[in-house]
Structures are given as C-alpha cells and as structure tokens.
C-alpha cells in the first residue's frame, strides 16, 4: 500500500489533496451555514470557463488566468447573494451554466489540445509544484484566520446583521472568506474536476452537522472527515487506475455522510424510547 509514496505525482497529490481538504472543510462550514453553498458550485464552473480560455490562449500556467477570474467572480457572487432584491440561487445557477457552456464551446472550437474530461472530472497527474506552493500558503492563511478570529466567524455565521450592528466588519470577513474559497476551488478543481469540487465544500459540513451540535465540533469533525475522504479516495483511485480521483473522493464523502445519517437516526430512536 505504501509503495504509492514512491511515485512523486502521488506524493504531490496527497500533499495538495490534504491541504485543500482542510481548507474546503473550514470554509465549507461557514458557507453551508450561511446558505452560500451555491457559491462554491458557481465558482467551479466559472473556473472551468477560465481554464478553457487559458488553454486557447496557450498560457503556460492556466492558473494565472483562472485565479484572478474566479476571485473576481467570487466577489460578484457574494454581492449577488447579499443583495436581497435579486433571486440569488437562480442568478448563480444562470452564471454557472453560462460559464460552463462558454468553456465547452471554446474547448470544442479549439479542438484537440484541451482534454475536456480532465477538466470536468479532474486528474491526479495535473497536480504540479506550483499547486503545492499555493495550497501551503492558502491553508496557512485559512487555518490562521479560523484560529485568530474564531469568535467573530461564529458571530457572523450565526447572525450577520447583529454582528454588523455591534461593530464587526462583516463585509471584510465575507469578502476574505469568498476570496479564499475562490483560491481553494481553483487549486482543488484541477485534481477533483469542475463538477465535483463543490462537493468537497458542502459534504464535510453537512456530514458533521448530522452528529455534532456545536460550532467548534462541527468544524473539527468536518476537517477530519474531509481529510479522511481525500486520502481514502486517492488510495482507491491509485489502486483502480481508471477511476478519476474526484469521483472516488465524492463517493467516500457520500458514504461517510450516509453513515453519519444512520448513526444520528439510531441515536434519535434510542433517546426517544425511554419517554414512551
């Protein structure tokens, strides 16, 4: 089993995978609880469009185009979600499918030099040195933010208008969180693919909320679940070489979610019985 560590690309994938898993879990808890889950989905589709354009332009590192484009999109999607006048979920759905369509269109016109399937479903082989650097810096930022500002993140996530009224700079925190989400998605989507990266953001938070009833335990459990699923997914994908790693990771997430759901259902049954 451990012989996979003798393959440099697997080591790269493990490092980036674990770091991205931590970032996704931490950011995901806030996004899910704030009902911003769709932002992750929208951003990954915008990222796909940007990658296609980068490939047409023959950029050596497509990330130089996709990173700023997705960060800009994050900024706009956040404004859309904050604005109560616009129907945010519909707006995000329209933006994400448009970006996907533009990406597919450009990739198809351009012909052979873009591997559509690799963008859609990801690939371990696409993880490079620059991804390691970015994900190390990113995860330091995300973890430091959660350690230093845990209480404020709690307050903003729970009730933003109260937080704002009592002097917390909610706009700043929201913007930082959505920009960090954008970077996480751009780095993560190369490995997991456009269609599956948003599951990495949503699943761990949703899974841990089945059993945990405190903000802090939800965050910690999400991180553990997320890292476990990425590592297991990578090993499985390596063992059965034909399965894209994005799919195995999401299937592990689904399995853990169902397990947690089952345990919470059993727990409810057990606590109810003595009353009756």
């Amino acid at each position: 089993m451990l012989d996979i560590l003798s393959y440099p690309f697997m080591v790269n994938a493990l490092i980036v995978g674990v770091l991205i898993a931590v970032c996704c879990a931490l950011l995901g808890v806030v996004l899910v609880l704030k009902r911003y889950s769709m932002i992750g989905d929208g951003l990954s589709h915008v990222g796909f469009g940007a990658l296609s354009i980068a490939a047409v332009l023959n950029l050596s590192s497509p990330i130089y185009l996709s990173l700023p484009v997705v960060m800009l999109a994050a900024f706009f999607l956040l404004r859309i979600t904050e604005n109560s006048k616009i129907n945010a979920d519909a707006a995000i759905a329209v933006i994400s499918s448009s970006a996907l369509a533009i990406g597919v269109f450009i990739a198809s016109i351009n012909g052979t030099n873009i591997n559509l399937q690799q963008y859609m479903f990801g690939s371990i082989l696409s993880v490079g040195e620059s991804d390691i650097v970015i994900s190390v810096i990113l995860s330091i930022f995300v973890i430091a933010m959660y350690l230093l500002f845990y209480n404020k993140i709690f307050a903003i996530t729970f009730d933003e208008s109260f937080a704002k009224a009592t002097g917390i700079r909610t706009k700043l925190y929201n913007t930082v969180i959505s920009l960090l989400t954008a970077i996480t998605i751009v780095v993560g989507m190369r490995m997991l693919g456009t269609l599956l990266i948003s599951a990495m953001i949503i699943f761990p938070a949703l899974t841990s909320m089945r059993l945990c009833k405190r903000f802090l335990t939800v965050i910690i459990t999400s991180v553990v679940v997320s890292v476990f699923c990425v590592v297991s997914g990578l090993f499985t994908s390596f063992t059965f070489a034909d399965i894209p790693v994005g799919a195995t990771i999401v299937i592990f997430n689904l399995a853990v979610f169902l397990l947690f759901l089952l345990v919470s259902a059993i727990r409810k049954l057990l606590t109810r019985k003595p009353k009756e």
């Binding site: 006048k85 230093l148 209480n151 109260f162 937080a163 704002k164 009592t166 002097g167 009833k213 405190r214």
Partner: protein
C-alpha cells in the same frame, strides 16, 4: 448629555423614501419608544441608526464616547438558520464580540456576566441546550440575552415582545425598566402603545404626514396621543397617582 441627535433624516429602499424629515434627539438615560402604523418605517429607522443601511438625507450624530461596540441590538426578525449548531451559552456570549479582538474563549468576568444575564432573562437552565431545539419565545429571550451582553450604553430593541406570552412580556418590560434605571439608554420599537407610554420617557410617533417627537407627557396630551391612547394619563403632572396603575395591572 446628548447621546444621539437625528436631524431631518430620510431613509428608504430603492430610491423610495420610507422615512421623511424625521428629527429627534436622545439623551443619556432616556427611554425612547418608537411607535407608528405598519409600514411607517420603524424598523427602517432602527437599521438606519445602526448603520445597517445608507441614508438619503439628513444627519445622525452620535456622541463621541458612544462607539458601535457599546450598542446592543435585538432585531425583529433575526435571520439565523434553525439548525445552527450552537449552544444557548455560545450564542449569548457572542454578544461580547464587539469588545474583544482576538482568539477563542472569553474572560472569566464575561462568563460570569453572561451567566447573570441568562438568569435574569430566564434562560439560565437552558444554557447548555441546543439553540435550534428551543421554542420561538425561548429563542427570543436568548437573543435578548445576547443583546444585553453587547449593551454598554445603549440598547435598540425592535418589537422585542412579539414572540413572548403576556407574562413574559410583563417580565421583559420590567427588565428593560431596571436596565434603564441602571443608566442604559433604551430605544424600543413597539406596537403596544399603552405599554410604551407607561414605560418610556420619550415617544417618537412616526407618521407619513407629520411625525411626533416629545416627552411621554407631551405625547399623551397631543391630538395624536389622544387619538391613539385609550387609557388615562398616568404621569406625575396629571397626578392620577397609583390607582391607575393598579387597575391596569390587575
């Protein structure tokens, strides 16, 4: 000493003014009730005072010693998710945030103060419960406790009794009254005009034509007050003494 001075204020949404040309001032220790019909802009005014929305015209001047993290706030319809994973205590403690900058946890003094506040509001025994499992009225009290944790000089309450039963409402009014006697300035939006004139020192009655601002005594004797209030005036000037209050409380 003036804590807050609003002059000729206009506020609204989408270019449409809801509040036009409202002026009033609040001194330290005042108890101001904002009354008015549905849609007269009471909630809008509270949001404007808190800086949650931009203003079209006029000025809001705060006393220099009043910073935003001295203000407690209880909104009419708090927007939180019902399944939010947090205990009552965590949510109450989050009221202290404005006064703390970094890190996890809270100081011992803050924990003691929060415990006292929870006791006062009647959610002391719920402190380890899940917020999502409480009833609407219990959640309202928890949010009031959080607002009290944030309160140093001024508390803004937007229809705080809407989810409370009559007994809890009476408790609530006496709690706010006590807080006011301790020196906290109160601004409260209320539908209950009789409770408003009984407790408040000043009344702001929002009206699309002409808003009223003055002491409770002035309000009761104004044409608007006479129209809206059914009961007799309980104020000192009219010297109806305690018989009125007794009969009302019974």
């Amino acid at each position: 000493m003036s804590l807050l001075k609003v002059s000729d204020l206009s506020l609204g949404y989408d270019g449409r003014s809801i509040i036009k040309g409202v002026s009033f001032s609040v001194n330290e220790g005042d108890y101001l009730c904002i009354v008015g019909e549905n849609g007269s802009g009471k909630t809008t005014l509270i949001k404007g005072l808190l800086g949650l929305m931009g203003k079209y015209r006029g000025t809001i001047e705060y006393a220099s010693e009043l910073s935003q993290n001295h203000i407690g706030y209880l909104s009419q319809h708090p927007r939180y998710s019902r399944d939010f994973p947090a205990s009552v205590r965590e949510i109450v403690m989050s009221g202290f945030l404005g006064s703390r900058r970094f890190g996890f946890g809270y100081s011992k003094a803050q924990r003691q103060e929060a415990a006292l506040i929870m006791e006062n509001v009647g959610v002391g025994e719920l402190s380890q419960k899940n917020f999502g499992e409480l009833s609407g009225g219990q959640q309202q009290r928890v949010l009031l406790a959080r607002a009290l944790c944030a309160t140093r000089k001024l508390i803004l309450l937007d229809e705080p009794t809407s989810a409370l039963d009559p007994l809890a409402t009476a408790d609530f009014y006496s709690l706010i009254k006590r807080l006011n006697h301790q020196g906290v300035t109160v601004i409260m939006v209320s539908h209950d005009i009789n409770a408003a004139v009984r407790n408040a020192s000043h009344i702001l009655c929002l009206d699309s034509d002409k808003s009223f601002f003055g002491t409770t005594h002035e309000f009761i004797h104004s044409p608007l007050g006479k129209k809206l209030i059914v009961s007799d005036c309980p104020c000192d000037v009219c010297s109806k003494d305690e018989t009125v209050e007794v009969s009302e409380d019974a």
